[in-house]
Structure formats: structure tokens, C-alpha cells
């Protein structure tokens, strides 16, 4: 993977994370603190958290194409790094038990990460459909 390709993939992950963190914040907020009022600067939080999550994942950069096994291991490392980054950034509210908060947070991050991967996979499915279509056009044109 070239550095350019890697940067593009990180930007993609960043935007997916912003969307999903925003959704997760809304859901967790509704469950734990439904009456809390937010200020405009709070809207920067998902962007900052997503940026902080993407940065540590840069250690998973690879130049040589990894095997499927190596790829899965890298994805797991990436998830652990994201979990650590978020847990370091977010402090639990006083009224909630720390362990429970971190467990819920960890689960939410894992769900967000898996959803990010699913979205990227769906994007790839779309890309392969387009390639198949182009391929069939090429085959039909040559058969004429």
C-alpha cells in the first residue's frame, strides 16, 4: 500500500467514525443523561474523538501486501488501539460506575468499528458490481 492509499483509507475511516460516534453519543446520551443540554462546542467532540482514534491506527500501515491472517491481526490491533484512545479521552460521569461505563463504552466502540468495516465492505461490494458491469460491457462489445 502506498502512503497516499493509506492516507485515503484513514480519511475514509475518519468520516465513518465521525458519523458513527455521533450516532453512538446520541444513543448513549438518551439512555444515561436524556435531560442534559448541549452547547455548540459539544458538536466538535465526535470530530476530535474520531481524529484521536484514527491517529494510533497509523501504526497498522503496511507496504507489502499482508496475508488474510496478517490482515485480520492488524484489524484487531487497530480496534484495540481505537478502544484505548477513546477510553483515555472520555472520563465516566460521577453517577455511573466506572467499570460498567468502560464495559459499555468498549462494547459501543467495538460495534462502531464493526459497523465501519461493514460500511467499507458495502462500498467495496458496490465497486465490484460496477467493475462486473464494465466487464460485461467490454465482453459484449467485443462479441459484436
Amino acid at each position: 500500500m502506498t502512503v497516499k492509499e493509506f492516507i485515503i483509507s484513514r480519511v475514509q475511516i475518519f468520516f465513518f467514525l465521525v458519523t458513527l460516534i455521533l450516532t453512538a453519543s446520541a444513543v448513549m446520551g438518551l439512555v444515561y443523561q436524556p435531560d442534559m443540554e448541549l452547547r455548540y462546542y459539544h458538536f466538535f467532540s465526535p470530530i476530535l474523538i474520531a481524529a484521536c482514534c484514527v491517529l494510533p491506527t497509523c501504526v497498522t500501515y503496511y507496504k507489502k501486501e499482508p496475508t488474510v491472517r496478517q490482515y485480520i491481526i492488524r484489524q484487531i490491533i487497530e480496534l484495540i488501539l481505537i478502544e484505548l484512545a477513546v477510553m483515555f479521552l472520555i472520563t465516566p460521569p460521577e453517577e455511573i460506575e466506572k467499570l460498567l461505563f468502560y464495559l459499555v463504552l468498549g462494547a459501543v466502540i467495538a460495534v462502531i468499528y464493526i459497523l465501519t468495516m461493514v460500511m467499507m465492505w458495502l462500498q467495496k461490494v458496490q465497486q465490484s458490481k460496477k467493475l462486473t458491469e464494465q466487464l460485461q460491457n467490454l465482453q459484449n462489445n467485443l462479441a459484436k
Binding site: 500500500m1 501486501e65 499482508p66 488474510v68 490482515y71 485480520i72 465492505w121 467495496k124 461490494v125 465497486q127 465490484s128 467493475l131 462486473t132 464494465q134 466487464l135 467490454l138 465482453q139 467485443l142
Partner: protein, 147 residues
């Protein structure tokens, strides 16, 4: 080796004759090139030599410095190197899809996603060939008609 070209009348068949002391690798290369221009490749299977029509080839794979031609039901070994075949067959819609595989795009029924930024080409024979990340841009270019 000297070359001599003689113009002949249109009613006579065109022919390429090679006069050589022995059938060396160089001679074989020339024969293979001429045959590929005519839409054929030479391959061996079960210690016999076969002329394989290019349109019957699904893919060509290089294993341990040997190239193998895969058709729907048979595998042939060829003396030519993969990069030579790639050069010869690029106008016949063959595309390098990994370090060791040359794929006939006319034999691909679908392209599917795979893990690790790769894609998989599903052939009409049902076989699946991995398209590695490095060669995906070339595939996109070829399918857009850029090459």
C-alpha cells in the same frame, strides 16, 4: 541469425520458414511469438505438445519459474515466461492480476470483493482468481477502455 523477407503473389500462402542448426530456446521463442500472433500458444501436457487457441485460455499462472496455461479442463506447461506472455497477450485482453497470474478478461463472469483490498475474479469455469491490490488500478483502467 540472418533474416530474409521475400514478397510473394497473393494467390500463394504466406509462410515463415526458420533455418537453424538446432531448435534452441531462441527459435522456440520466435515460434511462440508467431503462433501467439495467429491466436495460438504452444503448451505441453502428458509429454505431448499441443496448440492452444488463445480464446480457450482462462488464465496463465507462474509457479516456481514455470508457466502453466489453464483452459476449462486442462493444464498445459509452457516454456515462455509470464512477462513474455503478458507482453504478447496484452492486446488479447489478458491482464496481470497478481504477481503470478495473467487473466483472460473474456473468461471472467463476475468480480467480487475480497478481504484486504483485494478482489476475486469468478471465471466461467467456476474457478476463482485473486486480484491483488497492486493490480486493481490496472483492471479499472482496462475495463474503462483506457488500455
Amino acid at each position: 541469425m540472418q533474416t530474409r523477407i521475400t514478397k510473394i503473389d497473393r494467390d500463394k500462402p504466406e509462410m515463415l520458414e526458420i533455418r537453424c542448426h538446432s531448435i534452441s530456446d531462441e527459435v522456440r521463442e520466435i515460434i511462440a511469438f508467431v503462433k501467439s500472433r495467429q491466436g495460438q500458444l504452444t503448451g505441453t501436457a502428458d509429454e505431448r505438445q499441443y496448440e492452444i487457441s488463445i480464446s480457450d485460455i482462462f488464465y496463465i499462472e507462474s509457479v516456481d519459474n514455470k508457466a502453466f496455461i489453464y483452459t476449462k479442463s486442462k493444464v498445459y506447461e509452457t516454456r515462455q515466461k509470464l512477462y513474455e506472455l503478458e507482453e504478447m497477450l496484452k492486446e488479447k485482453h489478458f491482464l496481470r492480476v497478481s504477481k503470478s497470474t495473467l487473466l483472460n478478461l473474456m473468461k471472467v463472469s463476475a468480480i467480487k470483493p475480497a478481504l484486504n483490498s483485494r478482489f476475486t475474479a469468478v471465471l466461467f469455469s467456476g474457478e476463482q482468481i485473486v486480484i491483488t491490490r497492486k493490480y486493481v488500478p490496472e483492471l479499472k483502467k482496462a475495463l474503462k477502455g483506457d488500455s
